[in-house]
Structures are given as C-alpha cells and as structure tokens.
C-alpha cells in the first residue's frame, strides 16, 4: 500500500525538505505511526499527548477533513492522497 502525504512547510525539516512523501497505514492513526518511524519527531508535531490531532493542524484525506470523517480512525486506501495542513500566521 502506498499513500502520498503532503508535508507542510513547518514540518519540512523533519522530512529533509521533502514536501511529498509516501507512507503506509490502514487508517490515519497507523499512517502517523509509519511517518514517525521514518521521520522521528513528526508525530508530536501533529498529535497531542493523547494521540489526537492537534487543534491547529488538520489532516485531509483526498481533500476531505478527517474531523468530518472518522477522525484518527478514518480508513485509508492504496493511492489515497493525505495532506497535513497547519495554521500559519505570517503576513
């Protein structure tokens, strides 16, 4: 299984400046664990201590916000496209 993940600007340091990576997982929770294995430190930037996605970060599966799907349990399929989009404030 191969899922494309868009990495946002604030997390690029963790992926060696790669803005698009591939990862695996049957759901979003597993996908984040897989990302953490390859890019240590990325999970705590996305999730809080309880494993929930932080309130200023959104995860989209094929452009749909997982908060309106099944949150961290949202199932993933081969070739899904996942975007991680955090709030930014620069002006």
């Amino acid at each position: 299984m191969s899922i494309t993940v868009q990495i946002p600007t604030p997390l690029l340091k963790l992926t060696g400046d790669r803005s698009e990576v591939t990862a695996d997982g049957a759901d979003v929770k597993e996908l984040i664990e897989d990302l953490e294995e390859n890019f240590p430190g990325i999970k705590e930037r996305i999730c809080d201590e309880t494993g929930q996605v932080r309130r200023f970060v959104n995860i989209y599966v094929n452009d749909e916000d997982i908060r309106f799907l099944q949150r961290e349990n949202t199932p993933l399929q081969d070739r899904d496209r996942v975007s991680i989009i955090p709030a930014i404030a620069g002006g």
């Binding site: 868009q6 946002p8 600007t9 604030p10 803005s19 932080r54 309130r55 200023f56 970060v57 959104n58 989209y60 452009d63 749909e64 916000d65 908060r67 309106f68 975007s83 989009i85 955090p86 709030a87 930014i88 404030a89 620069g90 002006g91």
Partner: protein
C-alpha cells in the same frame, strides 16, 4: 453614482469587462475595505484595491517601516524607513489614486477597539502577522457579521480563505484554537519570499473585488494553498463545524479574547 470623465478614463480597462461595467465601477467606488496590516500581504492587497478604485480604504498597523520590510512590503519605499507604516501607505496609495479616501489607523487591534473599527467597512482583509490578532479578527468578524478575507504566508508557502459569517465556515471552523507559543514559526523566524507575499496578498484583493462586484465564485468553503517551490496550488474542503466555538450551534465564545498573554510569537 454617476462616473466623472476622469474616472471613466482611469478605470476604462476594467469598465469594459462585462462583469464590471459602469455599474460595477460605481459599486467599487462606493465600497469600503479595511486592510489589517500594511505588511507583506497588506501592501499588494491595498495597492491593487486602491488602483481598482475602492472608494474607502482603511489601513491598520502600529509598526514603523524597517529596512528588512522592503524585500516584500512594496507599499513602502527606502525613504520611508522609520516612518509609521500607515503614513507611508497612505502617501503611496494617495499618489497612486487620489480619487479614493484612505483612513490610517496607527494602532494595535485589541478586543477593546476592533468592533468599532470594523463597523464602518463592508469587508475586512486579514494581513496581520500573528495568531492572537488573527483569532481576534475572525471572532470580531463573525460577531459583527463582516465578510473576511484570510491570507497567511510562511517561507515558500501560503494559504487563502474567504469567510462569509452565517453562510460558510469561519477560521475557527478550520482551526479551532491558536497554537501555543513557539509551535509554529513566524516569518521573522522562518523567512518569507517576497513574491509569495505578493501572490497571496493579490489573491486576497481578488476575493475582495469579486465580493464587491458579486462576480464569480469566492474561496468560501475551500482553503486554497500555494507552494512556490512546486509552483502548485491545492484546494481542500472547509466545512462549517457545528461545534465551532464562535459560529457553531452552541458558541462558547460570545466575547472577544486577547490571546497575546499566553501566545506571543
């Protein structure tokens, strides 16, 4: 509103657009837009809104022009370094288009002053540079029922989104709470390419012009993101959150919050 000869000449290249015409130009001249921040986003947005003939343009900023601003804040010039940004912006906009009214606000927005300032405007442009101000602006616009164009930038990346309170999702529907201090870097820490500020600021101006003209499809309900290194735009859906703390079914935020004490970036 009847257009004068010189107005017909000045705006002729947009008056010939069927979406605008004399009627649309009159709408622009009768419109009032508040641009918050005369910085990377506010500079291009204000310049193009002024050039298009938006009749009243308010500019809010409490900073002075610094040399390191000029790489992206194109409303200011080298000779303006040290001057209040609103003065520099007013002079530049006035020389570009003396046909419009420019109202400078040399102040920092707070929960105490924002409501009376936005009251006088049809639509608000958020070109601020910090989370406390951005959440303050969102909440104030929702409470006052004012349309809001949101834009934000970092390094080679930008986001644009349009909020129509009561109709489509607000910024808190998208991101319910600001991050804690230091969790997301700002432009000062992380840098910003001037052209990215220009692109995002102009997308905001474009949204404002369409809103005033009632033309086209706004970026409400969809967040547009831009990656300058890829030269790619992407779009994700933004749904109204019935649990949104400010515009949801049972709002918990009914008064404005000044976040700065615990969220100084």
């Amino acid at each position: 509103m009847k257009l004068r000869e010189d107005q017909i000449e000045r705006y002729s290249r947009q008056i010939i657009l069927s979406e605008i015409g004399g009627k649309g130009q009159s709408k622009l001249l009768e419109a009032s837009v508040l641009v918050i921040g005369a910085g990377g986003l506010g500079s291009p947005a204000a310049l193009y809104l002024a050039a298009a003939g938006v009749g009243q343009l308010g500019i809010v900023d409490s900073d002075r022009v610094e040399l390191n601003n000029l790489q992206r804040q194109i409303i200011h010039s080298t000779g303006d370094v040290g001057r209040p940004k609103v003065d520099s912006a007013r002079d530049r906009l006035h020389s570009l288009n003396p046909d419009i009214r420019i109202i400078p606000y040399n102040l920092r927005l707070t929960s105490a002053n924002i409501m009376e300032i936005i009251e006088d405007y049809d639509i608000i442009v958020d070109g601020s540079d910090n989370f406390p101000t951005r959440y303050l602006i969102n909440d104030a616009c929702v409470l006052a029922d004012k349309p809001l164009s949101h834009g934000a930038i970092l390094r080679f990346y930008g986001q644009v989104y349009t909020i129509l309170p009561g109709e489509s999702a607000c910024y808190r529907c998208l991101f319910p709470e600001p991050p804690p201090p230091g969790a997301v870097p700002n432009c000062q820490e992380a840098g910003i390419l001037g052209a990215v500020a220009g692109i995002i600021g102009l997308l905001q101006a474009n949204e404002v012009l369409k809103y005033i003209l009632g033309a086209g499809k706004l970026l409400n309900g969809r967040l547009l993101t831009f990656d300058a290194l890829d030269a790619s735009f992407r779009e994700v859906k933004v749904l109204r959150d019935t649990d949104c703390p400010v515009c949801g079914d049972r709002p918990t935020i009914t008064e404005l919050i000044d976040y700065e004490e615990f969220c100084q970036l």
